[in-house]
């Protein structure tokens, strides 16, 4: 009743090709942005910023990067954490070694470094596909962590290999409080998400999807395979690189190469599988699910146990949390194998017919 397109006429191509063709969607989207930019900074506590919102946004960005590569271009990758590591260490070195470089330039350069490394490790994709490619990107994962540990230059010869990021400011405003960090990350993620959305709607994105669906057919209709695949690797790694830099600069404050382990790559992969492969929204939903659900359970279970007078120790709660988390992953995948984004889409379709479904 409320959510339908009846009466909304489009009289120009521009109106027809906007991201949200429905007025209701546009209103919802702008409200969400207003809440994120204006209301949240007033309402949220330091805990919410530092432990929930910032990591959520950072991982959403990384998942977005992987989604471009895996979801849109169909190239399976297990190296996202490595590209994040490249971004984090590159950003650190740019800030350290170039006096007075603006943070935004640092982020772009860090993303650029990650993109270069991504293209390099994307080269095997020209010959191999699927699981074999995943194994090839696994090489990136191990190589990058090894190189960052092996060569002291990357960590400014810190004896432990751990880097701790310097203070930084944006146009003279120090980004040092959780609120500022949150707004900074949010702004960057918004811009990059918009970029991603428009990329996948453009001819580049169509070329990616053509390659994903059948690369031989794509080549036959004149899509250059090499350029398409490598551009997907470059763009994806750029996103991961920026996410890595934000991970170090705005979230943890100090990182070590071991932190960017295969585990992290898998987490990002799970985010897009649960959120929805080949969907921008999916990256955000997946990141929220993987990151926030354990925290929610952690907060929910002990009071629940106390309420029911169950003699749970901390360790038991952790075990139960893992079991519930695992069960929920399986549940959601069984309900909707195409991820949470698809669930949202179905909900929207139902909403259009509501309250008179036929």
């Amino acid at each position: 009743m409320l959510y339908r397109e009846a009466g909304q006429f489009k009289s120009s191509y521009i109106a027809d090709s906007q991201i949200f063709p429905l007025r209701q969607d546009r209103i919802g989207f702008w409200t969400l942005l207003m809440v994120a930019f204006l209301a949240v900074p007033w309402l949220a506590s330091e805990y919410w910023f530092s432990a929930i919102l910032i990591p959520f946004l950072v991982f959403a960005l990384a998942a977005l990067g992987l989604n471009i590569l895996t979801g849109y271009a169909g190239q399976l990758s297990l190296g996202s954490a490595a590209f994040m590591a490249v971004g984090a260490y590159a950003a650190y070195n740019f800030q350290l070694r170039i006096e007075g470089i603006p943070i935004l330039a640092t982020l772009v350069l860090a993303g650029g470094c990650a993109a270069l490394v991504g293209v390099l490790f994307g080269l095997p994709s020209l010959r191999i596909k699927g699981f074999y490619l995943a194994v090839a990107t696994l090489a990136a994962q191990f190589f990058v962590v090894w190189a960052l540990t092996k060569f002291g230059w990357f960590s400014n010869d810190s004896s432990s290999g751990v880097i701790s990021v310097p203070r930084f400011d944006l146009f003279g405003l120090a980004i040092n409080t959780p609120v500022r960090k949150y707004l900074f990350v949010l702004a960057i993620v918004c811009v990059m998400a918009l970029l991603a959305k428009n990329l996948v709607r453009s001819s580049t994105g169509r070329a990616w999807m053509a390659v994903r669906d059948m690369d031989v057919a794509a080549e036959v209709i004149g899509i250059p395979l090499m350029r398409t695949k490598l551009s997907a690797f470059a763009v994806s790694s750029f996103f991961c690189g920026v996410a890595g830099a934000l991970y170090a600069f705005c979230y943890l404050g100090s990182v070590e190469p071991d932190g960017f382990s295969l585990d992290l790559s898998f987490r990002i992969l799970f985010m897009i599988i649960i959120g929805g492969v080949g969907s921008i929204l999916g990256a955000f939903l997946g990141s929220a699910f993987i990151l926030l659900l354990p925290i929610l359970l952690d907060n929910l279970l002990p009071p629940l146990a106390a309420l029911l007078h169950l003699p749970f120790t901390n360790a038991t709660v952790s075990h139960i949390q893992m079991m519930v988390f695992g069960a929920l992953i399986i549940f959601f995948l069984v309900v909707e194998p195409h991820g949470l984004a698809r669930l949202w889409q179905i909900a929207k379709e139902k909403l259009r017919l509501w309250p008179f479904p036929h």
Binding site: A51, S160, V162, Y251, S254, N314, V317
Partner: protein, 440 residues
């Protein structure tokens, strides 16, 4: 099925909305201690013993002395699984629960987490305890006012080990060959700089061999050790890597009594699974194992007698890691006591006040004797220049069923090691852009 599906979906939707859950915070007349612990995950068994000892001692102080100067201790655990991101989340969560006192001290027992927290804790004025681990150049209190790598650091430890080995060779290691076999991470790499300094002074040859995490395959490394045939192997292992190394050493026939491990490679959790291969293996330790220490025996009587014991496996009371937890708790409680002596007995101390207590800690042997902890841990005397406070370890040997001490307290070469810390801390201050200064 469809109904169940809808029900579950509704429940999960409701749960995601219902996120504002804030259980009661510690009361304001209690001294709150945040414990980001790990009892599950890859290092869970280590954490169970360590945090068991830590919590048992806090309980003991509450039951026996009614807290510190009449102020009861309160604490809360949060599971980190030895994971940096979870550790940060835990820290923020516990901080949000206790906005007033902000906690006495935080002791995550994970080098990675302590690195991630070092800036945040300083900003929030929460003392960060890194007892026997963590960022070692925090020994310099003028750069790291809120971080305390108490008792001893990796570098001082390796220096003490070299001193012990020299002692066995009439005071000189000149011409000898030592292999440093290490976990290829921040933890394993920290001592290298100290070892290199020692080797250039002591004129022994140093061979560094890294083992990639998690270290459950060390065939190549031990083959290389056999080829090199060093006089000693100094071993910086962690978790499953330790037992693997001992078994691999047995396989290539390298004598175990020439392998000497760090204190994270010297607990029952490392030697018992290795079985016979561990017999004769040496390791450093900064706390003594055993139940015959008076305070440990008393904890068994008071805490376990009251049915408040934290250990599920009571047999592990008195193990190396359990006693290490107790030792760490003793240092924490003594810091609160020191702070109370200065800022008012019977009051709840703030993070800043406990920081002062930690920086002016003076746990003498006489005091340890009063506590019933004679010989359990070395004397600790801290200052702004020296957040370490001791730098002493003992060497112990596994006899097949228990750890036996084979040396007295050995202090590392402070004149060699501490300037390294100073230089590293100064570089950190420069990177961060501030001038080091001692806090009053």
């Amino acid at each position: 099925m469809k109904r169940i599906k809808h029900l579950l979906l509704a429940v999960s939707a409701a749960a995601s909305l219902l996120s504002a859950v804030a259980p009661a915070a510690a009361q304001s007349n209690e001294q709150f201690i945040a414990i980001p612990s790990y009892r599950v995950g890859p290092y869970g068994t280590n954490g169970q013993s360590y945090y068991g000892g830590y919590v048992d001692y806090l309980n003991y102080v509450n039951l026996k002395d009614n807290g510190v100067g009449g102020v009861k201790l309160a604490w809360e655990e949060c599971e980190t699984e030895y994971n940096n991101a979870k550790g940060v989340e835990c820290y923020e969560r516990m901080k949000s629960r206790n906005p007033v006192t902000r906690g006495t001290a935080i002791n995550p027992m994970a080098t990675g987490i302590s690195y991630a927290l070092i800036d945040k804790t300083a900003e929030d004025k929460v003392p960060l305890l890194m007892i026997g681990y963590g960022r070692t150049d925090a020994v310099d209190g003028s750069v790291f006012p809120y971080a305390f790598p108490l008792v001893t650091t990796y570098q001082m430890q390796v220096s003490a080990i070299v001193k012990y080995l020299a002692g066995k060779n009439n005071g000189s290691l000149a011409g000898k060959k030592i292999v440093f076999l290490y976990h290829d991470s921040a933890y394993g790499k920290e001592p290298i700089v100290a070892l290199q300094a020692e080797s250039s002074i002591g004129k022994f040859k140093l061979v560094e061999i890294p083992v990639a995490h998690p270290g459950n395959e060390q065939g190549a490394q031990w083959l290389r050790i056999r080829q090199e045939n060093p006089d000693y192997v100094i071993f910086w292992g962690w978790g499953v890597m330790n037992q693997t190394a001992l078994k691999a050493a047995q396989k290539v026939g390298y004598a175990r009594d020439r392998i000497i491990g760090s204190w994270w490679a010297g607990s029952e959790e490392d030697t018992v699974p290795a079985g016979d291969a561990a017999r004769g293996y040496l390791s450093a330790t900064w706390n003594v194992a055993g139940r015959d220490v008076p305070v440990i025996a008393d904890i068994e009587k008071v805490v376990y007698g009251a049915g408040r014991g934290n250990m599920q496996d009571k047999n592990k009371v008195g193990s190396v890691l359990y006693n290490r937890g107790v030792s760490a708790a003793i240092a924490t409680v003594e810091a609160v006591r020191t702070a109370q002596d200065k800022f008012g007995r019977g009051k709840v101390m703030s993070g800043e006040q406990v920081r002062w207590g930690l920086e002016n800690l003076n746990i003498t042997d006489a005091r340890l004797k009063q506590l019933g902890a004679s010989g359990l841990l070395p004397e600790i005397k801290t200052s702004c220049d020296n957040h370490e406070g001791s730098g002493k370890v003992r060497i112990q040997q596994w006899d097949g069923s228990k750890w036996v001490l084979v040396s007295d307290w050995i202090e590392g070469n402070k004149n060699l090691i501490h300037p390294l810390f100073k230089a590293s801390a100064a570089r950190y201050a420069k990177e961060k852009g501030f001038t080091p200064a001692c806090m009053k």
